[in-house]
Every structure is written in structure tokens, then in C-alpha cells.
Symmetry: C2
């Protein structure tokens, strides 16, 4: 793996370039992105030179797609006729079924490896890129075919930049993040919408740190989320439906005076999230419900 | 105001004692609480001596009830026959209608002033007490009758410990915190319950900081919350009903592909919460919905 092309030099792509450098990668880091992003990426060392997608496809061993989901889908179509069968294409998109499907339609077989680093921060853009963004973070891979030398090399670099690689199928990935990422986002947004609609001055005066925690995700940029939501409708319907059931059960338990067991199960699960060593399948979260 | 009795020497009561001292209060700080809490309070200087509730009622100018809501309700009944008409009784309970009602039944007229400091932290107990806990925080007072010299003195001390005093009626307070405090708590608990019920190992592996934010409140101690919920059922039904409407609207907008306007309204409101200078009634949050 001598030449890497980063398509979309933003927070994730820029961090990937910086992380590779910090881990000892000495090859070429081509950047395919907008003019200002390339300029900032060159300055920070996240990329070593500019390229067009055509040039990148002609020379890169690894093509790393770190754009929003809708842009990744478009890039895969464009890459189709340009991609050499001996390269590896991977992505960092937040949903996987639609992207893996699109790649199977447009790219040569054995070339594509779906990925999703569970990492990020509130700031966007290559200016916020961080060589340690992936350190001690889960990096999901959704392998379909590729057991090539290049895919082995890529996994090796993921370890060297500190990621904890987990394998799951695209559909398992999307079903999981519907609960752990998309549902929390939608809840935060709906909470902020509820208070906004109320349009009452005291709501913005009489509040504590809890409301700030619960509305932080509501600050997320809508444009990134629209294509995530559009490509995981089934998973999101399942997760939001399950949440509506739990929320309604909790709401009714207040009227009957018996919410204690739900509070205890919730506190237990929230505690386990923060103590992953003791979290494994079948450890009885659901037993107490 | 020479003698203050703090009934319930925990995080809030202990912080109130430390804050008074830091602000220059030189009188007696009586503590009425469990043995270990009194011991810790004496060591940290949050109180200056132990007392029974009877002794405190007989000598204190200000009686500060900083217990959980259900305990405050019990203490008001006990205080009834003990309270001298020339003292001021106030509380720090998280709901106000039930407490103000109980005080009006059991205490002499003009003695009680309901209060709620919008301050706290994750740790409990006087060991976590902090003289700056109330600094730059809202402190709601729900005055019914008392325009006494003592109530004026108490307000003066609230200013000196750095609180931002806001007045509202008990019912307005409870309706407001139903949206800004009780609703976020219930949402966080219901989210954690949803994931706990799913009982799937990958849910505790593939998640980022967003899920941690959204489940922090779910760690709250159930015992504190049960009496809060029980004393604000009407407010909570209104707030949870409004949230169910917003969440359902957002969920359906994903199927129709048009959640952008809800994301934008939510981001706008969440931004205003963090920039209170620009937040005032009728500034048009609801207009964009």
C-alpha cells in the first residue's frame, strides 16, 4: 500500500491521513476534495498532493471515501468505470447496506470493503482533523468478498492507528446504529422541537445541565443526517418503534406509580455502557424488565 | 438572620451551608440529618453543629429543607406544631405545587417561601458539596405571601452566593420543569430501557459519545425521581404528550423524506439554549415550524 487517495478531505478523511502519517505511513496521500479543503489538508499534512478522482483511481492502491453518505453513493457510480481491479476501495459512511449494494453494482468484484469508524467530534472540516480520532474507537468493517493482500494491509493500518476493528454484516451494522446512533439523534432533535414549539420564555431560563446534554446532538448539521436517515429507513422505523413502546410504558407507569423497575433497568444499562468490560450478550439486562 | 438550620445535609444542603460561609455568613449553621451526613458536614464546615428538628425549629431564623420531595412533605407535617411564626421556612425541592400546598396546610401563614435551585451534579451527599454550586445558576422562588424582613434577607443571601433569582408561581414552575427537567430525564431513561430490552451485544459495542450523552441522566438515582414524578403528574403528562407528538412527526417525516425543517428548528433552539442573551419570548422558534 504505497499510494492512498482520500476522497472528501474533511474531519474523517483528514484525520485518517494524519493518523496514517503518525503511524508511520510514508507513501503518497492524494486528496480529492474542494479547493479550500485541499489547501487546508496540504497545510496540516493530512494529504501530500491534490488529485482528481480520475487520477486517484488510476494510481491509488487504496481509495478512502470519507464523504457524506449521499456523496459516497454518487462517487461509487463515477468510480465504476475508473477503478482498477487490483485496488481496494473502502468508505467511512454512517450506513452500510445502501453503500455496499451500490458498490456491488458499480465496482469490479473483490474491490470494495465497507467501513464505519465510530468516531467524530462536534466540529467539522479538515481543520478539526486529529491523528488520534480513531484511537481506542470501534471501526466496523462489513466485508463481503475481499480477502486480498490489500484488504489485509488496510486492516493492519487500522490497528496501527489504534482502532478496535469489529466485523459485522451491512444489515447488522445498520440495525445496530439505528439503535445506538440514529435513535439518540432523533430523540434529541424531537426534544428540542418540543421545546421550540412550546415557545415559552421560561423554558430557556429554568433548565440545568441535563437539558444541555440531551440537546447537544440536536445541534448536528441537518445535511449530514438527511442521507443517513434516507438510507436506513427500516432500521430507524424499528428503533423508533421500540423507543415509542418503552417511552409509552414509562409514561403510563408514572400514572400507576410504579416507574421504579424501569428506572433501575435503565440505570443498570447506562452503567454497563460505561463499563464495557462487564458487558456481554445475555448478561440479563432484559431479565429485570 | 443569625441561625440557619439545614434539614437534609446532602449535596444541596451542604452546598448551601458552604456557600453561606463563603459569602460571609458568621452565624450558627445547625444540621438536621443522619449521623454520617452530620459528621461529614461538620468536618467540611457545611454545618457548625448538630440539632434535632425540634431544637432547630425552636431557635433557627431560617429553616432550609433540602431533602428529597417526599421527605420535605413529611417534614412540613412534623414542623407544623413546632414552627414559630417569626421564622422563615424555605425548601429546595424539585416540584413546588404539592410542597407549597402542604406548607399552607401545616405552617403558620407568612412563614413559607418555596424555592428550587436549578443546580446539581452527578455525585450525591455532603461529600460532594461545593460552595459555588449555586453560582450563576437560576434559583426559582415561588412566593405566596411572605414579604417579611427575613424573606428579604434570604433573597439577599441568594444573591450573595451568586444565584440568579427568578420568581414564578408554583404551577408555572412545575409546568416549566416538566419540559426542561422531567421530560429529558424520562427520555433518557426510556432510551436506556429500549436498548436494555433489545439485549443485543453489539448495542454495547458499536456506539459513540452521542449515546453516552443521551444516557447520562438515566444514571440518576430512582429514589430521588419517584417523588418528583409523583408530585408533577399533570405537568409530566403534558410534556410527555407534546414530545410524543413531535417524535411521531419527526419519525413520519423520515418516511416522506422531509425531516430537514425539524432538524433546523431543533438546531436553532439548541443553539439558543447555549446563547441565552438572544433568547426571549416570542423570538420566533415556533414560527419556523
Amino acid at each position: 500500500m504505497k499510494t492512498v487517495a482520500i476522497v472528501g478531505v474533511g474531519l474523517i478523511g483528514g484525520s485518517f491521513g494524519l493518523a496514517l502519517r503518525k503511524a508511520g505511513f510514508t507513501g503518497e496521500l492524494l486528496g480529492v476534495s474542494s479547493g479550500p479543503a485541499l489547501e487546508a489538508g496540504l497545510q496540516s499534512g493530512a494529504i501530500s498532493s491534490r488529485a482528481t478522482l480520475e487520477d486517484a483511481a488510476g494510481t491509488a492502491d487504496l481509495i478512502y471515501l470519507s464523504q457524506p453518505v449521499d456523496r459516497i453513493l454518487q462517487t461509487l457510480e463515477t468510480l465504476g468505470p475508473l477503478t482498477r481491479p487490483e485496488c481496494l476501495v473502502t468508505d467511512a459512511g454512517s450506513t452500510k447496506v445502501a453503500i455496499v449494494q451500490k458498490a456491488s453494482e458499480y465496482l469490479p468484484p473483490g474491490v470494495f470493503l465497507g467501513g464505519h469508524p465510530i468516531a467524530g467530534k462536534e466540529q467539522r472540516g479538515v481543520q478539526a482533523a486529529d491523528p488520534d480520532l480513531f484511537r481506542n474507537r470501534v471501526y466496523v468493517l462489513t466485508p463481503i468478498d475481499p480477502q486480498t493482500q490489500l484488504s489485509g494491509e488496510f486492516r493492519h493500518w487500522l490497528s496501527r492507528i489504534g482502532s478496535n476493528v469489529i466485523q459485522m454484516s451491512p444489515s447488522e451494522h445498520d440495525a445496530t446504529v439505528a439503535f445506538t446512533s440514529h435513535l439518540p439523534q432523533l430523540i434529541s432533535t424531537a426534544l428540542a422541537v418540543t421545546l421550540a414549539k412550546r415557545n415559552q420564555a421560561s423554558l430557556a431560563e429554568v433548565f440545568g445541565s441535563g437539558l444541555l446534554d440531551m440537546t447537544r446532538l440536536a445541534l448536528s448539521p441537518p445535511d449530514l443526517w438527511l442521507s443517513i436517515l434516507a438510507t436506513n429507513q427500516a432500521g430507524i422505523m424499528a428503533a423508533t418503534g421500540a423507543f415509542l413502546d418503552s417511552f409509552t410504558e414509562l409514561r403510563e407507569s408514572i400514572l400507576t406509580g410504579d416507574p421504579a423497575h424501569l428506572f433501575e433497568a435503565a440505570a443498570q444499562f447506562a452503567g454497563k455502557l460505561r463499563n464495557p468490560a462487564s458487558t456481554k450478550q445475555g448478561d440479563g439486562f432484559a431479565n429485570s424488565l
